[in-house]
């Protein structure tokens, strides 16, 4: 493959940082106009009015999306090759590469992390708005329509954060480093996966201008087939996000299968890479069902199909089956990388080998295997045949066995260890504690009789916040505090980090433990108003939620502080960890390693006979510091 040198204009110092984004947006708008006009022409030819918002918008978007991608950089870096022309290396090499179609997995990882942490803070702000609303019982603060829309937006944004922040961000940055590779297997596809995300954000925000999506993030028909046109934008957004997730999962699988360094056997694969591996299979396969469910809703709306239209032989329950066939495994897309980060941090900060490494891996693969056969526990009260109840009760509870293996590996690692309670370790311990509560309360929702009573109550809300915040968000912050010195070459304030942890940990438990009681009291999810008798408890939950929200202020201050010129420098290996990413400079150089590393022993053999996990042949060990 040949390349032509970048033109002076493309790389010159005068180039505006946002030029690629602006060009992508212009291409996207032009593509949208073309697609919408095509739809209008087809409608006119068929003898109908030229303009039908949902049809024209959908076709417009189907042209706009590839046009945006071409504009952002697919043209220079990829599409030229399809036409037999040399690929142009038009990307910038300084800080502006963070705003461009860049191939370096570390840059893409940072793009993911910054995007999704910003999205997390925004969606968290929406949660604060919801808690203000819920301080009075009659639902008068926001009104029902606005409440439903804010709830839907909070839901889908947080789902996106939980799916993509650890896997897309830290997976991208650290999986190639951990396995001793120079990049992921398909760097261009990797960049494409990231640049599919901005259209998602644009569509979700734009949907509010067209009535929003009051069906919430689950988008159940019949409501999602009949509500305002904002639903169409929501569906297109989530289908696009699903595509990004599928391509990302495929990329990780090929990377881990094919690009491991010499000596990096499956039995020596760092546990975070294992968790990304198991997660990737779920993302690769099951996400298609989410796309299918949302495409069916879209077709019912714009093409006249009757998948969910009972009067024409359709069945709304079909949606719930197809949707949850993805959306339950999606929970493991969120928490598997969280488990991986937690185990990684626990072993380094306990200064002990990872306990029962093989059983933890077996746990990940067991979760992967069982994740596809539990979906119908979301449908226990939806009217599925009674003979399906017991099998899905059993399969759902079976999944606590592999999850239990992971938890036992975590506990066994801490046991008798010399714990080093720095900020990443605190967050990793937070994962173990919170996910335990999330898992135990899940048993009551897997059991059919208790689920009959608790379904769609705030008990469920409290339960899944314990699993997702506990399993993913705490792990996300563990990863941020663990790997930030490596990524930035600078050290954050330990004190602010500790304040962040304790405020967040206490605020989180004080918010969601009482929420179980609110659920026992019979408060329904997704409803703007509730029984006045529950108002006192809700005020308590709201006040505690504000403390949880405030805990991110020290985090933001800490992160902004890193940008100061005077911020303390981080050494190459501040945690004295054995894994590969710590054996190169902070931040790691382009293409990660001066020479391909050779792996000699298990990554977590603290106190074991092998002095090193890997060597860089020909490079003196102290040079890597």
């Amino acid at each position: 493959m040949t390349t032509v040198p970048a033109t002076a204009a493309a790389r010159g110092p005068g180039t505006w940082a946002f030029r690629w984004i602006v060009r992508g947006l212009l291409f996207g708008v032009a593509g949208f106009a073309i697609g919408a006009a095509m739809a209008a022409a087809i409608r006119t030819a068929a003898g109908a009015e030229p303009w039908d918002f949902e049809q024209n918008f959908t076709l417009g978007y189907m042209v706009a999306l590839p046009a945006w991608l071409l504009g952002i950089g697919v043209w220079e870096r990829w599409a030229r090759e399809w036409l037999g022309r040399p690929v142009a290396d038009a990307g910038p090499s300084d800080w502006r590469r963070y705003f461009a179609f860049t191939l370096d997995h570390k840059v893409i990882g940072v793009q993911y992390i910054v995007t999704f942490v910003a999205l997390f803070l925004l969606a968290g702000f929406l949660a604060m708005v919801l808690r203000v609303h819920l301080m009075v019982a009659d639902g008068s603060v926001l009104g029902e329509h606005l409440y439903n829309n804010v709830m839907g937006l909070h839901g889908i944004m947080m789902i996106a954060v939980a799916v993509a922040s650890l896997a897309g961000g830290f997976g991208n940055y650290f999986v190639p480093l951990l396995i001793g590779a120079r990049d992921v297997a398909f760097p261009r596809l990797n960049a494409l996966s990231f640049w599919l995300v901005p259209p998602v954000a644009i569509l979700l925000v734009l949907s509010l201008a067209f009535g929003g999506f009051d069906s919430g993030w689950t988008a159940y028909p019949p409501l999602s087939v009949r509500n305002a046109s904002g639903q169409v934008l929501f569906n297109l957004a989530v289908i696009t996000f699903g595509l990004s997730s599928i391509l990302g999962g495929m990329n990780f699988l090929v990377t881990i299968h094919k690009l491991r360094a010499p000596g990096m056997t499956w039995g020596r694969l760092p546990i975070f890479a294992w968790s990304i591996y198991a997660m990737s299979w779920i993302a690769l396969l099951f996400t298609q069902f989410l796309a299918a469910a949302l495409i069916m809703v879209l077709l019912d709306r714009i093409a006249g199909t009757a998948f969910f239209d009972v009067s024409n032989g359709g069945a709304p329950l079909l949606y719930q089956h197809v949707f949850w066939f993805y959306s339950h495994p999606a929970v493991y897309v969120m928490v598997l990388p969280g488990f991986g980060v937690a185990l990684e941090v626990l072993t380094h900060f306990s200064r002990k080998p990872l306990f029962a490494y093989r059983w933890a891996v077996a746990g990940f693969l067991g979760i992967l295997g069982l994740s596809g056969v539990v979906w119908a526990h979301h449908l226990f009260v939806a009217g599925i045949p009674a003979e399906l109840l017991a099998p899905f009760l059993v399969t759902t509870e079976l999944i606590s066995i592999p999850t239990g293996l992971v938890m036992l590996a975590a506990l066994g690692t801490i046991w008798m260890g010399r714990l080093w309670l720095r900020v990443p370790m605190l967050f990793a311990l937070g994962v173990v504690f919170s996910f335990l509560i999330g898992g135990i309360t899940g048993i009551f929702l897997a059991d059919v009789p208790t689920d009959m009573a608790l379904h769609d109550s705030y008990f469920v809300v409290a339960h899944f916040h314990y699993t997702i915040i506990g399993g993913e968000i705490f792990a996300l912050f563990a990863a941020i505090y663990y790997w930030l010195p490596k990524m930035t070459g600078r050290m954050y304030s330990e004190r602010l980090g500790q304040i962040h942890f304790w405020l967040m940990f206490l605020g989180f438990n004080a918010t969601f433990l009482p929420m179980f009681l609110v659920g026992f009291g019979g408060m329904n999810r997704r409803v703007a108003s509730y029984e006045p008798a529950l108002q006192d408890l809700n005020v308590l939950v709201s006040v505690m939620a504000f403390i949880l929200g405030a805990s991110f202020i020290p985090f933001v201050v800490n992160m902004v502080g890193l940008a100061r010129k005077s911020a303390p420098r981080a050494v190459a290996n501040p945690w004295q960890a054995r894994t590969l990413e710590w054996q190169v400079s902070s931040p790691p150089p382009l293409e990660n390693f001066p020479v391909l590393p050779v792996v000699e022993s298990h990554p977590y053999d603290y106190g074991g006979p092998a002095p090193r996990h890997a060597v860089l042949p020909g490079v003196e060990p102290e040079a890597a510091q």
Partner: protein, 203 residues
């Protein structure tokens, strides 16, 4: 040697090519091997998309076929696809011999038969005795439409590949790009012959 300096040297050696290549500096890894594994995973994933729509059809109508479909047209469509795949394998064999011109000719035959298939689906859609607004019609039109979308994207990829073959583009480098297109085409063929045709026409 300082790590940063080492990496700077390395970037000079591989940097410009590596920045644009899909597999930058992955020493000892065959790009075709990596690419093939990725493509197969992606096709495995696409099977789940088809599986979702096929299970929707089975969920809505069970094993019954409530509407009358044009079986003879379906047989013709199937024959067209199988023949197109066979031509593509002749193209593959020509490619292995290093005869790009012959490969382009065989693959042009694949594209022609593929276009014939698209035309057949258009006839099917315009003459079907049932509409998209019934439950079975929803499944039938969406599954065939989904398959036709995959097929058309395969046609575009093959057309671009033939253009490159004619311009002798692959003479110097790997032919993985065009071989990938043929794998994709085989998948589109297989999913029709093994799943869609039996479920929609034979059940």
């Amino acid at each position: 040697m300082n790590t940063l300096e080492t990496s700077a040297t390395m970037a000079d050696e591989h940097g410009s090519a590596a920045a644009a290549a899909d597999v930058p500096g992955h020493e000892g890894h065959d790009p075709a091997d990596v690419g093939r594994f990725g493509l197969l995973l992606f096709l495995f994933s696409e099977s789940f998309l088809f599986a979702a729509f096929i299970s929707a059809r089975l969920y809505l109508s069970g094993l019954a076929k409530p509407e009358h479909v044009n079986l003879s047209l379906g047989v013709v469509l199937t024959a067209l696809l199988v023949a197109s795949s066979l031509l593509s394998y002749r193209g593959l064999a020509a490619l292995r011999r290093g005869d790009g011109r012959a490969a382009a000719r065989w693959l042009s035959g694949t594209v022609l038969l593929g276009l014939g298939f698209v035309g057949g689906v258009a006839i099917e859609w315009s003459t079907a005795e049932f509409s998209i607004t019934s439950a079975y019609g929803s499944a039938f039109y969406s599954v065939t439409g989904l398959h036709a979308t995959h097929l058309i994207s395969g046609l575009i990829a093959l057309a671009l590949g033939i253009r490159l073959l004619r311009r002798n583009h692959f003479a110097a480098g790997s032919t993985w790009g065009i071989r990938g297109c043929i794998i994709y085409w085989t998948y589109v063929d297989l999913i029709w012959v093994l799943v869609i045709f039996p479920v929609l026409y034979l059940l």
